[in-house]
């Protein structure tokens, strides 16, 4: 074997190795920093081992942020899934109109989430915003959308839904278009109604596609920062301070670097575990869908 051939496997692995190191190096360094009390006021810190994590888990603020994060992620992912699938079903049925709507539907995805949040912030403004202007004829023109904890959380979820529902719809639509036609033809011959066909055929076969969308949206929503920060800055009170915002405040604004990174490591662990569970579930769903087909 020539030396070139012998060297080839090693050369081929180099890009992957560099990429892996590029990912692992900052991650490892971040993890290492969490073991110290590194902050602007203590640039030469002492090793405190797991004290930062202990403090994180014993803080009421952390549990509040964790709860808000979960509420946000579950709420946003659930609404986006239902709406996205519904939109995909509608687009799949109509032809000409569907094609036009498809192109319009994709528009929110082309806007940076932070810009979307700023647009919505203006639209939700109680006195000059267009939403209250449109609601005024129905006697609902005075709603202060982001002034209450519930309102702020729901408004943030609504912006997320506006931005990302098209993503779910596009994935679901791709799924719908790839489904085999024969089971549907057989169901039609047997006189099955729309709801029965949807429940017994469409949905089980579509689930793997939908679940991929759910995994992406759920993990992304757990890591949300831009939409909430631009819309509410985490307020009112601490009502929309999700884990990412807490980490940003601690690490950048308050310059408690180690403590801020500890928050992000905890968030990483939560997202990783959630992704593992969901991906495992995806395998099962795929096997079931194959059985239906």
């Amino acid at each position: 074997m020539g030396w070139r051939l012998a060297l080839r496997p090693y050369l081929l692995i180099v890009p992957a190795l560099l990429l892996t190191c590029g990912i692992l190096y900052p991650f490892g360094l971040g993890l290492y920093y969490t073991l110290f009390d590194f902050s602007a006021s203590k640039p030469q810190p002492d090793m405190v081992r797991f004290e930062n994590y202990e403090t994180v888990f014993t803080q009421e603020a952390f549990w509040n942020s964790a709860w808000v994060t979960v509420l946000y992620a579950v709420g946003a992912a659930a609404v986006e899934t239902v709406l996205g699938v519904a939109v995909a079903l509608l687009l799949h049925r109509s032809s000409q109109v569907g094609r036009v709507l498809e192109k319009i539907l994709i528009l929110p995805l082309m806007i940076a989430p932070v810009i979307a949040a700023i647009i919505w912030k203006l639209m939700l403004q109680p006195s000059v915003g267009v939403i209250n202007y449109l609601l005024r004829p129905f006697g609902l023109g005075g709603v202060q959308w982001t002034d209450t904890p519930t309102g702020a959380l729901l408004s943030s979820i609504a912006v997320d839904v506006w931005v990302y529902t098209p993503f779910v719809a596009i994935l679901a639509l791709a799924g719908l278009r790839s489904l085999p036609t024969s089971p549907f033809e057989a169901a039609a011959v047997d006189g099955a109604g729309w709801w029965y066909t949807f429940r017994r055929l469409t949905l089980p076969m579509l689930w793997p596609y939908v679940l991929v969308a759910v995994i992406f949206r759920f993990m992304d929503s757990l890591k949300v920062f831009d939409i909430i920060y631009a819309l509410t800055e985490g307020g009112p009170g601490d009502s929309t301070v999700v884990l990412q915002i807490r980490a940003y405040l601690e690490a950048i604004r308050f310059q408690r670097y180690s403590f801020g990174i500890s928050y992000t490591i905890v968030l990483w662990a939560v997202v990783y575990l959630a992704a593992m569970v969901l991906v495992k579930h995806l395998g099962k769903i795929q096997r079931k869908a194959a059985e239906v087909k």
């Binding site: 012998a6 496997p9 090693y10 692995i13 190795l17 190191c21 692992l24 190096y25 490892g28 360094l29 290492y32 920093y33 110290f36 590194f38 602007a40 006021s41 640039p43 030469q44 810190p45 603020a61 912030k121 939700l124 403004q125 109680p126 006195s127 000059v128 005075g142 202060q144 959308w145 982001t146 002034d147 209450t148 904890p149 702020a152 819309l231 509410t232 800055e233 985490g234 307020g235 009112p236 009170g237 601490d238 405040l249 950048i252 604004r253 308050f254 310059q255």
Partner: protein
């Protein structure tokens, strides 16, 4: 074949070890500490007679915040280059991102920017880690500083605002001079003269009156031809910036403190019975006469609402009203007047200030040139030109505040000069200096929002004080 597999494994192991080396090195190297720190100041290296051309050919890099004061500076930069032969390169960032950019840049330990804008509160955050050059030695060195710079011409409270000993709780005006006053803002009440005339109102002299007037405007103004007008614009976003203008001014006028200091130990005082009562009243005023969607209100919304005739009053920086009041700037221009605002129960007009200062990066490699820039930017010639021909108002220098051309320019704004002269000596930083300022005030703003939303003032503020006690104690 087996040998081949073994070789590959060994290769992977070696490569992984090589990749881990920088990680371990980074771990060992620590956290980018101040390894070239020295007790002496670079100012001591400047000797001989003072010369503006001393650093001719040098380029200084500046980080600036988007602001009318900055516009005035940039418009006059050519004069600086002509005077010194020093070129200034600059980046301008909007205020939303400016301090994040500056913080990250300074904490990196690099000298990407030699000079930058900052507030006095930032001295408390950037000073202790050693990111700011102590400008005291530069000011004291007659070889580095020209006689015409005239330190005595600055309003003393402004110069003191940027002086600190870097010890939590220690008063300002002692220790190093970590920045220079360049432009500032005092917090007063600006009001729409039309609505006041129509409703027969007079500017409030007490806080109770202010609350009543705010409520009265919200109730009566829309029916009196001021569609959609509310009473008083004050900031409400979940940010430190919500606390420092109107709120802290009125808080201080009531004789209230953010922290008490005993033996160098700070104890949160925002939950004292008097502070709880005041905070409740403030939130009540906002509910009664404040803007809709108050919890998202920044200075920008407050200012533009006054200009758009949406707000009857503004309790914020005088500049925030000034930029709406100048001719042609807004629908309300020509109809905005200034007043010092309500007095405290004992007649106090203690006022909190925001001060745009200029600082030098302690890591800068061009300190001498940077100092020449700071000297020029805070000097009489440039500041006078900026105040008279641009919008660099609220002069940091007494000579400019008393300059007839400046007064002529400001005279058309009803009450501006009188208000400025009434509060200028009583305007100072009303907060207790300490490194956790941003955490404390952001949490304080969140607490204010909670109280506005119906939370019990005492329990919310007790919770805030409890949280802060561990952090600042």
């Amino acid at each position: 074949m087996d040998m081949h597999v073994h070789d590959r494994r060994r290769f992977l192991a070696l490569t992984a070890a090589a990749a881990a080396t920088p990680l371990l090195a980074a771990c060992g190297a620590g956290f980018g500490g101040d390894d070239d720190k020295s007790d002496g100041s670079a100012a001591d290296d400047v000797t001989g007679s003072f010369d503006w051309k001393r650093e001719k050919g040098t380029t200084v890099k500046a980080l600036l915040n988007k602001h009318p004061y900055t516009d005035a500076l940039i418009a006059d930069l050519k004069s600086f280059t002509e005077k010194t032969g020093i070129k200034v390169e600059y980046d301008v960032f909007p205020e939303d991102n400016y301090f994040d950019k500056l913080t990250v840049d300074l904490s990196s330990g690099r000298a990407s920017y030699d000079v930058f804008m900052l507030g006095a509160y930032m001295v408390w955050q950037y000073g202790p880690p050693g990111w700011l050059e102590d400008l005291g030695p530069w000011m004291r060195n007659s070889s580095a500083t020209g006689a015409e710079w005239d330190q005595a011409d600055f309003f003393p409270n402004l110069l003191q605002a940027d002086q600190w000993s870097l010890k939590a709780g220690a008063p300002l005006g002692q220790g190093g001079q970590y920045a220079l006053p360049w432009g500032w803002e005092t917090n007063v009440v600006a009001y729409n003269t039309d609505v006041f005339k129509k409703l027969g109102l007079k500017p409030a002299e007490t806080f109770d009156e202010l609350r009543e007037i705010a409520g009265a405007i919200k109730q009566k103004a829309p029916g009196g031809g001021f569609d959609g007008m509310y009473g008083i614009a004050v900031r409400g976003s979940r940010s430190w910036a919500t606390i420092h203008p109107g709120f802290m001014t009125m808080y201080a006028r009531n004789g209230l403190k953010d922290f008490t200091v005993k033996g160098g130990k700070l104890t949160p005082a925002m939950n004292s019975p008097e502070a709880v009562a005041f905070t409740e009243d403030w939130a009540g005023m906002v509910k009664q006469g404040g803007p809709p969607s108050w919890t998202s209100y920044t200075w920008y919304q407050c200012s533009s609402d006054l200009g758009a005739k949406k707000a009857g009053m503004l309790f914020d920086a005088d500049t925030a009203a000034y930029f709406q009041a100048v001719e042609g700037a807004s629908p309300a221009s020509g109809k905005i007047a200034f007043h010092p605002g309500p007095k405290g129960p004992d007649g106090s007009l203690a006022t909190n200030m925001w001060i745009w200062s200029l600082g030098m990066n302690a890591k800068s490699k061009k300190k001498s040139a940077s100092w020449l820039f700071l000297q020029w930017a805070t000097g009489k010639e440039h500041l006078r030109k900026s105040a008279i021909t641009h919008n660099h108002i609220d002069p940091v220098r007494k000579s400019i505040a008393n300059d007839s051309a400046y007064k002529d320019k400001m005279r058309h704004l009803p009450g501006f000069i009188e208000t400025f002269e009434t509060v200028v000596d009583q305007t100072k930083i009303q907060f207790t200096p300490q490194a956790q300022f941003f955490d404390a005030t952001t949490s304080w703003a969140a607490a204010l929002q909670e109280i506005y939303g119906g939370g019990g003032a005492k329990s919310v503020l007790d919770g805030l004080a409890g949280d802060l006690a561990d952090k600042v104690g």
